[in-house]
């Protein structure tokens, strides 16, 4: 039995996820930009907060796409390389208004955050020596460390459900703390190892099937 994925050669004319649905009219690039500016302004806490915002603004309030479709886009955004919130914005913007919508959505979601951070960066040197700011920052540092450690633990709990996966997570953490290896190299190695693993699993399945 051959797998359908192996036999199906990618054709250039395959339907892309950006094919517009016939029901809703396109809101246009400016409409997309404005909707994403609103979401960017209240996007606290990273990629996963983005899904809730998209559901509320794009699915429920504006009814531009269905909830089901949004879930699909968000799942895809997590697989693609890049910042999850940007990926999700681009996929949705692409679906709503093509390439212009893609760029408009990404530009929109970073507009307010960019202005906030740029303002903070300009003020950083003069503000950080104020005693109040210094005291607040001194309390924030252990909070940041704890929160990142907590996020990491939650990720290990989620990703390490099997024993080999848990061992891999712990080994990566220990190696990283002890030796600070190049992360990009290790991630590339992970991708290669996954591809090799899939190759062997598929070959074994084919042999067993014969």
């Amino acid at each position: 039995m051959s797998s359908p994925a192996a036999s199906g050669a990618p054709s250039p004319s395959a339907p892309s996820p950006s094919a517009p649905s016939p029901s809703a009219p396109s809101p246009g690039a400016f409409g997309v930009w404005f909707a994403f500016v609103k979401m960017g302004a209240v996007l606290f806490g990273g990629g996963y907060a983005m899904l809730g915002l998209l559901e509320r603004e794009i699915v429920q309030r504006r009814r531009w796409i269905s909830s089901r479709e949004m879930q699909d886009y968000f799942a895809l955004a997590q697989l693609l390389p890049g910042v999850i919130a940007i990926n999700a914005s681009m996929l949705v913007g692409n679906r709503l208004a093509g390439l212009r919508g893609n760029v408009a959505a990404a530009a929109g979601v970073v507009t307010v955050p960019f202005l906030c951070i740029a303002a903070y960066a300009v003020a950083y040197d003069s503000v950080r020596t104020l005693p109040e700011v210094e005291a607040a920052m001194a309390g924030m540092r252990p909070a940041v460390a704890g929160m990142i450690a907590g996020f990491g633990l939650a990720m290990v709990r989620k990703a390490g459900k099997t024993r080999p996966a848990l061992a891999l997570a712990i080994a990566t953490c220990a190696l990283s703390v002890a030796f600070d290896p190049p992360i990009i190299g290790i991630l590339a190695l992970c991708v290669a190892a996954g591809a090799v693993w899939a190759f062997f699993v598929r070959r074994r399945a084919r042999k067993a099937g014969m």
Partner: protein, 198 residues
């Protein structure tokens, strides 16, 4: 200036490109790249994380914006040049998404349940989780050893007890996922203020 701009942009492009297997991978990547290049001190990195989490926006994009500005400001460039660098770094970290969504989007849409994709992510996810944990450990070590402390020097014993309590509470809050990072960091900042002024 050209070579500094080039290394900044290529670093953030690489960071965006290798943010795989969960968005928080970007924290580990930004930390390694910026500290190795000497662009940020450990204290500045910790401050950026706090700022990036307590202002709106994706954390990787916020870190790119801030780092772009700091690198050019620290190298003695004018404010407008530093602002342009921060905009460029923001674009650079988002650029891999354009490529991923534009070129890979349709392909991934068709192949996302493939064995190869499943296998790659089965290995990537625990690895990335390990890297994020390691950043938490490194930040804690810097915080308690005083490497990330203000010019005042290493904290005394009572301050360390306070830090340990804040760390434990924040770790619990972060792990449970029930609290917005904004409130966790605000609580930490409030603890710092109360400690100094009461």
């Amino acid at each position: 200036m050209i070579s500094l701009a080039w290394s900044l942009l290529s670093a953030f492009f690489k960071i965006g490109l290798f943010t795989l297997g969960g968005g928080l991978a970007i924290i580990a990547l930004v930390r390694q790249e910026t500290l190795a290049a000497g662009w940020l001190s450990p204290a500045e990195f910790s401050d950026i994380l706090g700022i990036a989490q307590s202002t709106p926006g994706p954390i990787g994009v916020n870190a790119a914006t801030f780092t772009g500005y700091r690198v050019f400001a620290n190298a003695g460039f004018a404010q407008w040049q530093a602002a342009a660098a921060s905009l460029a770094a923001t674009v650079a970290v988002s650029l891999p998404s354009v490529i991923g969504v534009g070129l890979g989007g349709a392909w991934f849409e068709r192949h996302r349940d493939d064995l190869a994709v499943t296998c790659v992510f089965a290995i990537l996810r625990p690895c990335v989780a390990g890297f994020v944990c390691a950043v938490g450990v490194a930040l804690a070590v810097e915080c308690f050893s005083g490497a990330a402390a203000a010019p005042g020097g290493a904290p005394g014993v009572p301050a360390r007890v306070r830090d340990a309590l804040v760390f434990a509470a924040a770790a619990w809050a972060g792990c449970s996922g029930r609290f917005s990072p904004v409130w966790v960091l605000a609580a930490g900042a409030a603890a710092g203020l109360a400690w100094t002024f009461f």
